[in-house]
Every structure is written in structure tokens, then in C-alpha cells.
């Protein structure tokens, strides 16, 4: 069957309208549910840097959200450690809504840095851990995560990493608890208080690692290097904030 050009044009035009309409309706209709799942995902990731993952995976979405509301107090600081209360539009800053990616593209001095404080279960004024988001480049694409520091701002309580496109079985292992647990208990500061971060070494099965080193991932040296770089970069971006807390804490004593 051979149709005229007019028929073809009309056909494709009608098809485009139907398909376009259908897709925009779906997108609009599902937007609230999608927003909710993204929020849940972010909050789960934040919590997983300080909580037992097994326990977390057994919790229902509502439980996670209420747990988050109860235990996490968040704020946003700038590079100098000063709290930012209002955003550009003059509205209250919400740390959860700060896009780490958008900020990553800015110069470090202009970025907004969210901090998530994990509060003590019995004493809600006491901070158990400071959780900071980190973002960087792996081998193929972006990698990011959250690192939780104990209230001494030196010992790592936990870390959670995620990625867009690292090689499955190699670099993608950064999402596994096995790798992330290697960071627990490691120190980020040298004896005289300088940030030296924690480095993932090359190769796997290394022995005699010090408190600033974790075992590497076999076959994923570059992803490991990406993790090292982002960790070190973000720890230094948050250094002034950490200093203000430490000074504040000593003043109270």
C-alpha cells in the first residue's frame, strides 16, 4: 500500500501528539511517587552509613522515614564552616534537597555543604556521628556516597558508596558492605591533626595496613583511586566546619 505524503505527515503528527500526551501524563502522574522514592533512597543511604545494613533492609519505608526524622538533624554549611540558613531565593535551606552533583560542578569555595548529624538515641542533643556527602569520579562515571565520622571527627563510623557505571564485579563492588566495612574504625587525621584521609591501597589481601589505609579491590585500582580522591577532597572541604565544632566543643568544656 502506497500512501500519499500528506497521509504520512498527518499520521506521524497524530502519532506524535498521542505518544507525547501519554508520556507527559504519565510523567506528571508519577512525579509525586518518584519524588518519594528518591527521598527514601537518599535517606536510606544516609542512614546506611551509620546503621547496620541488614537491619535497615528489613525496615519498611515508613519506619526508615520516621527513624530518619527522629535521629537525623541536618544543616548546610559553606566552605568556611558557616551555617547557611537561607538559599538564593530566601527560603529555608533543606539539606536533603541540596544537589551534591550541582554543587560538585561549582568551584569548591562556592558550594553548599550539607551535614547530617546522627543524634544519640537517648540524648537527642548529643551527636553520635557527623555524616557528610561525598562525590567524585570513578573509572567510567560518577561515584558518590556518605561518610560518617564519630563525634571526635577523626574516626570513621561507616561509609556508604554508590556509582553510576563502574564495572560489575570490579569497581561496582564499592556498593557492597564488604568493601564499605573496611573503612569502619579508620582515622582521617594524623597525630598533629592534619587531614590525611583514608586511602584504599592497590591490590587485595594486603597485610599490615595502618589506620589510614584500607585494603584495595582487585582489578579496580582506578575506582579505588577515585574513592580516595573524593574522600580526601570532601574531608578537606569540611575541615573548617569540623574546626568550628571542635572549638565550640572545647569552649563548652
Amino acid at each position: 500500500m502506497q500512501q500519499s505524503n500528506t497521509y504520512i505527515i498527518i499520521f506521524t503528527a497524530v502519532m506524535t501528539v498521542i505518544v507525547g500526551g501519554l508520556l507527559s501524563l504519565t510523567s506528571q502522574g508519577l512525579a509525586p511517587a518518584q519524588k518519594k522514592s528518591i527521598e527514601l533512597d537518599t535517606k536510606t543511604q544516609i542512614l546506611s552509613s551509620v546503621m547496620d545494613r541488614e537491619q535497615l533492609s528489613k525496615m519498611k519505608p515508613d519506619e526508615i522515614l520516621s527513624m530518619y526524622n527522629e535521629r537525623i538533624a541536618s544543616l548546610v554549611v559553606d566552605i568556611n564552616g558557616q551555617i547557611i540558613e537561607k538559599d538564593e531565593k530566601g527560603e529555608d535551606m533543606v539539606a536533603e534537597e541540596v544537589s551534591i552533583l550541582k554543587n560538585y560542578k561549582k568551584d569548591p569555595s562556592e558550594r553548599q555543604y550539607p551535614v547530617f548529624k546522627y543524634m544519640n538515641e537517648s540524648d537527642l542533643n548529643k551527636v553520635d556521628a557527623y555524616i557528610i556527602p561525598i562525590y567524585g569520579a570513578g573509572l567510567w562515571n560518577a561515584i558518590w556516597g556518605y561518610v560518617a565520622l564519630e563525634s571526635d571527627l577523626n574516626t570513621i563510623t561507616g561509609a556508604s558508596f554508590d556509582h553510576t557505571g563502574e564495572t560489575p564485579g570490579l569497581g561496582a563492588r564499592i556498593t557492597s558492605p564488604e568493601i564499605q566495612n573496611r573503612y569502619v574504625g579508620k582515622k582521617i587525621l594524623s597525630d598533629n591533626g592534619e587531614i590525611i584521609s583514608v586511602n584504599m591501597v592497590k591490590g587485595e589481601g594486603n597485610e599490615g595496613l595502618n589506620e589510614h589505609q584500607v585494603d584495595g579491590m582487585s582489578g579496580a585500582t582506578i575506582t579505588g583511586r577515585g574513592v580516595n580522591d573524593m574522600l580526601k577532597a570532601y574531608l578537606s572541604h569540611y575541615e573548617s566546619y569540623f574546626t568550628t565544632i571542635k572549638n565550640g566543643a572545647t569552649a563548652k568544656l
Binding site: F11, T16, V19, T26, L30, S37, D41
Partner: protein
């Protein structure tokens, strides 16, 4: 593909018979053929890319299977319904538009209701659009057959794809991660020191399993490449 087009014209000729049973012998063949003798992956060797990429674990594979079955059945149905309206010169574009719309729907629904899987499957759901199985069925079957037959054909091809990738995923997860649906099967039966095979987690593992699968199947059906 050329032999297939021939088969299709034969099938079109048979459709003319009046009052055929809902699951007549001919129609059953639409479903059963792609499951074994005319399997899209192992015989037609289509859709290999996603068969390699998503089969590291059972759960994402299952979601992927459901997505592909959904897309293939509904795109077959829609194309078959409008097959006499579609201008011949732009039919490929129309087929693509239908597939892309359905895939985007699946992707959006996943993002809203199963974000975890959305992250795992990532680009691969989007890549169903380029899965030759879907487009192959539209071009070879739905364009020339009635809606009901096309739906059956879609179900057949969809499940033909699904059972193969699920089998591949079963072995890959079993040997690569020592689990099935994330359930640590070896620990459950008391083997705690089971050495997982890194090769299985890699795409290479999928090639190996798929190769063995094709070998077993062809030695049974006696199929040879022409």
C-alpha cells in the same frame, strides 16, 4: 531473517480460515515455538546484549523479563491493531515510537515504585528499545497478523527470552554470588566456605553459561546453522 519472512507469508495465508479455536494447534505454536525450537536468544541469537548485562542476579533479571514481556506483548498488539493504517515508508519509525513509549512507561513506573531496581537496571530498561527481539517481532509478525495472534506471538517470544535469561541468571548468581534471589543458598545448606567464582559475575560468565545452554539445546533439537 530471510527464512523467517518466508514462514511469515505462509502463516498469513493460513489465517484466512474461519472460526478457529482460541488455542488451536497453530496458535499454540506461536507460544511454544519461541520457547524452544525458535528461541529468540539461543536460536535467532537476538537480544544478547541485555542477556549478558542484566543476568548477574535473579531479581533484576526477573524485573527485566517482566518488562520485556510487557513491552513485546503490548507493542505487538498495538502495531497489529494499527497495521493497516501505518504508512509503509515510515513503519520502522512508527514501530520504534510505540516501543519507545512503552519502554519509557516501564522505566517511569519502576522509578516510582521500585527505585532500587531502577538503579540496578539503569540504562538496560531503556535499551529494551534497541532489543532486536521486540522490533524483530513487530516487523516480522505484528505487521502482517491479527491482534490476537500477535499477542500470542508476543507472549511466546517474551517468555522465550525470559526463561533463557532467568536460567543464565540462576547459574551466574549461584556460582558467582553463592545465592539465589539474594538468599545465601550455600550457607543455608551448611557450606559456609563456598568459593564464589568471579568469572560468573563478569559478562564472560554469561557468555559461558549461554554457550553451554545453546549447546545443550541444539544437541537436543538437532538445530544447525544454515
Amino acid at each position: 531473517m530471510s527464512t523467517e519472512t518466508l514462514e511469515q507469508t505462509e502463516e498469513v495465508a493460513v489465517v484466512k480460515k474461519p472460526a478457529e479455536g482460541l488455542l488451536s494447534k497453530r496458535r499454540k505454536a506461536f507460544i511454544t515455538d519461541p520457547l524452544n525450537e525458535d528461541n529468540p536468544i539461543t536460536v535467532q541469537v537476538l537480544g544478547i546484549c541485555s542477556a549478558l548485562a542484566v543476568t548477574v542476579k535473579m531479581e533484576p533479571t526477573l524485573i527485566m523479563s517482566i518488562a520485556v514481556v510487557f513491552v513485546i506483548v503490548f507493542s505487538n498488539l498495538i502495531i497489529s491493531l494499527i497495521r493497516n493504517l501505518v504508512p509503509n515508508r515510515v513503519r520502522i519509525i512508527v514501530q520504534l515510537a510505540v516501543i519507545a513509549t512503552l519502554v519509557t512507561l516501564v522505566n517511569e513506573v519502576l522509578k516510582a515504585y521500585n527505585y532500587e531496581m531502577y538503579k540496578v537496571l539503569g540504562a538496560f530498561v531503556g535499551l529494551i528499545i534497541t532489543n532486536c527481539i521486540v522490533m524483530g517481532r513487530l516487523e516480522a509478525f505484528a505487521m502482517g497478523n491479527k491482534p490476537y495472534d500477535s499477542v500470542l506471538d508476543g507472549i511466546g517470544s517474551g517468555f522465550g527470552y525470559a526463561w533463557i535469561i532467568l536460567t543464565v541468571a540462576f547459574f551466574r548468581e549461584l556460582f558467582g554470588s553463592g545465592s539465589i534471589f539474594d538468599f545465601k543458598i550455600f550457607e543455608a545448606v551448611g557450606i559456609s566456605n563456598f568459593a564464589t567464582n568471579g568469572l560468573m559475575v563478569d559478562s564472560i560468565g554469561a557468555f559461558v553459561v549461554l554457550g553451554v545452554l545453546i549447546w545443550v539445546q541444539r544437541s537436543k533439537t538437532g538445530y544447525v546453522e544454515h
